[in-house]
């Protein structure tokens, strides 16, 4: 077995795109910029490129660390690197922050060139289709006509699917991990509670909190705490926290008592410091709106008629947010179109977050799949 290493120190790059982006909402962005990172070398034939699409709270920093900050490890560093399942010794891997995000690409906190002020509430609602279109502009900028593979987990998996529908000739393989062909009512409900938490925070100011030099921290914190619960499983929470008490005994009050409360609050606080509330609203809306079958009367198989890619679909047994049944719906649509598809349902107790971990043979399967991709 080859030794796997980190890609090491990485530096984000920026591209300014002045070609207007027509959005699904009917609005458009006249110009925008995207922040991205790349790992490995693009080969002479430009045939070894891989795009990694991020999920709700992810970004372009997929692997490696930033200079002088060894804690700044990329969010999928266990998957991407030299000798890792997505091997940067073979592939040229790209991570990009999506439009509307808060890690460097144009988003609600960016300056609107029309007004000279931050977009705030006026930043248009963006969809998975819009993201794919912006990512396609980045691909053009980098001289990539066809990706070896487009890979994503959760909301990222939705982007990988959308690519195969919008640009069937530009994607040879799509790895759709812990994703769904559309959200269920329950999923939308969770997202709306999260949005309500943010929007009812007095510091939100209708999305224009930048102008008031404040942040809707409380709302964003609650939104993240709720989301975090849905990314874990009952079993994994029981195993990690159980009913453990911080002080070892009940205090008959309403302060933090149980370890799980402490953990969630910590996660919420950390997130509220790092993430933009408007971006959170936009990301959850993109999730809610994703439904490629809608234009085909709900027929997902009909939606995938355009696709040509080979697929790997992966789900995790304890993922109740995007359950294995949702992945099976995707698989069925691909089978109906006689597309090459493999499907793995990985045993894992970690819930939706499993896709970021290494349960069971998950990484071995991805590695074996990637090894079969010719470049």
């Amino acid at each position: 077995m080859q030794e796997s290493k980190s890609v090491g120190v990485v530096t984000p790059q920026y591209v300014q795109i002045d070609k207007p982006l027509q959005l699904k909402s009917g609005l458009s962005l006249e110009s925008y910029h995207l922040v991205y990172e790349t790992y490995g070398q693009l080969n002479a034939a430009h045939s070894n490129a891989i795009l990694i699409c991020h999920a709700l709270s992810g970004n372009h920093h997929v692997a490696g660390v930033y200079a002088g900050n060894e804690k700044s490890v990329g969010w999928w560093d266990n998957m991407v690197g030299p000798g890792k399942p997505i091997d940067t010794d073979r592939f040229f891997v790209i991570g990009v922050n999506n439009l509307g995000g808060c890690h460097g690409s144009t988003g609600p906190a960016s300056i609107d060139p029309r007004t000279g002020k931050q977009y705030g509430a006026s930043f248009p609602v963006v969809t998975v289709e819009d993201w794919v279109e912006a990512q396609a502009q980045l691909a053009e900028h980098l001289g990539i006509e066809q990706f070896s593979a487009i890979v994503g987990g959760s909301l990222g998996g939705m982007q990988a699917m959308q690519w195969t529908l919008d640009y069937p000739e530009k994607v040879r393989h799509a790895l759709v991990i812990a994703a769904a062909p559309k959200l269920t009512a329950q999923n939308i409900a969770f997202n709306d509670v999260a949005r309500q938490a943010i929007m009812t925070d007095q510091e939100f100011y209708g999305g224009n909190f930048y102008a008031y030099d404040t942040l809707p921290r409380r709302g964003l914190r609650l939104a993240r705490m709720l989301g975090h619960i849905t990314y874990l499983s009952d079993d994994s929470m029981a195993a990690k926290f159980g009913r453990s008490l911080r002080k070892g005994e009940l205090s008959f009050g309403f302060d933090v008592e149980f370890e799980i409360e402490s953990y969630l609050r910590y996660q919420g606080d950390k997130f509220a410091d790092l993430f933009d509330a408007n971006s959170y609203l936009l990301m959850t809306k993109a999730l809610d709106y994703f439904d490629p079958a809608a234009a085909y009367g709900g027929d997902l198989s009909a939606a995938f008629r355009a696709a040509k890619a080979n697929f790997l679909v992966v789900s995790f047994t304890s993922d109740w947010r995007f359950s294995p049944q949702r992945s099976q719906e995707i698989v069925k649509a691909l089978l109906d179109n006689e597309l090459s598809v493999s499907y793995a349902e990985i045993s894992s107790s970690h819930g939706h977050d499993s896709f970021l971990m290494e349960p069971s043979c998950y990484h071995q399967l991805v590695r074996a799949y990637m090894d079969n991709i010719t470049i």
Binding site: D336, A344, I346, L365, A368, Y369
Partner: protein, 205 residues
């Protein structure tokens, strides 16, 4: 990691060759309980088929990936609801029937999904098995290598038994092959002398 090419399955598995002889080149195949994927890979390499394997075991799934075949992780006992009716030329169940709980159910699903079904299984009616039962023991043989307490084989049958089941499931048998333990064809007294049985069948209309 280096991928050493597997030795030609034809040498190792004459039962693969027996199945391949029935497959029209370029056909669309579903291989149920496909194990490590070597049959499907063999059919792809020798018959240019397109297809999918179905396998539940994670270790086998990984081997399928390494064999470069499409595989869907699924429990056959739950049926084939991911697969549309009449969507395959052949649905194969190679040496898996005897380990299934829902034997009738899987035959019916094969008839629904495929134009033709191909089933292979060890013949429990072979004289060696019969001798062992007469001597007071559950059979252990080349095709039935397990002991009674650790065998995955819960629905063993003879050729005659299987043909009865086909009758009951409205499956019309198109062709049968019977092999000895040395993979030689057995034509005389197959239910007594045969070790491995192969059937090709279709839905009776």
């Amino acid at each position: 990691m280096t991928n050493t090419p597997a030795p030609s399955p034809l040498v190792l598995r004459p039962d693969f060759a027996a199945i391949a002889e029935w497959i029209k080149p370029g056909a669309k195949i579903l291989d149920l309980g496909c194990g490590d994927g070597s049959l499907l890979r063999y059919l792809r390499d020798t018959r240019d088929v397109f297809g999918y394997g179905v396998e539940i075991d994670e270790t086998n799934l990984l081997k399928c990936f390494r064999n470069g075949i499409n595989v869907i992780q699924n429990d056959l006992e739950a049926g084939l609801s991911s697969f549309a009716s009449d969507s395959f030329d052949y649905v194969i169940l190679s040496q898996t029937l005897q380990a299934m709980r829902h034997t009738e159910g899987i035959i019916q699903e094969m008839l629904r999904v495929g134009n033709e079904g191909i089933v292979s299984f060890p013949n429990f009616g072979n004289w060696k098995n019969r001798m062992q039962v007469i001597s007071g023991h559950m059979p252990v043989s080349e095709t039935l290598p397990y002991r009674w307490y650790n065998t995955p084989n819960i629905h063993l049958c003879t050729l005659d038994d299987f043909e009865e089941l086909c009758q009951q499931c409205d499956a019309r048998i198109l062709e049968r092959k019977v092999m000895s333990n040395h993979y030689r064809p057995v034509n005389f007294l197959p239910n007594l002398r045969g070790m491995l049985a192969f059937y090709r069948f279709e839905r009776r209309t």
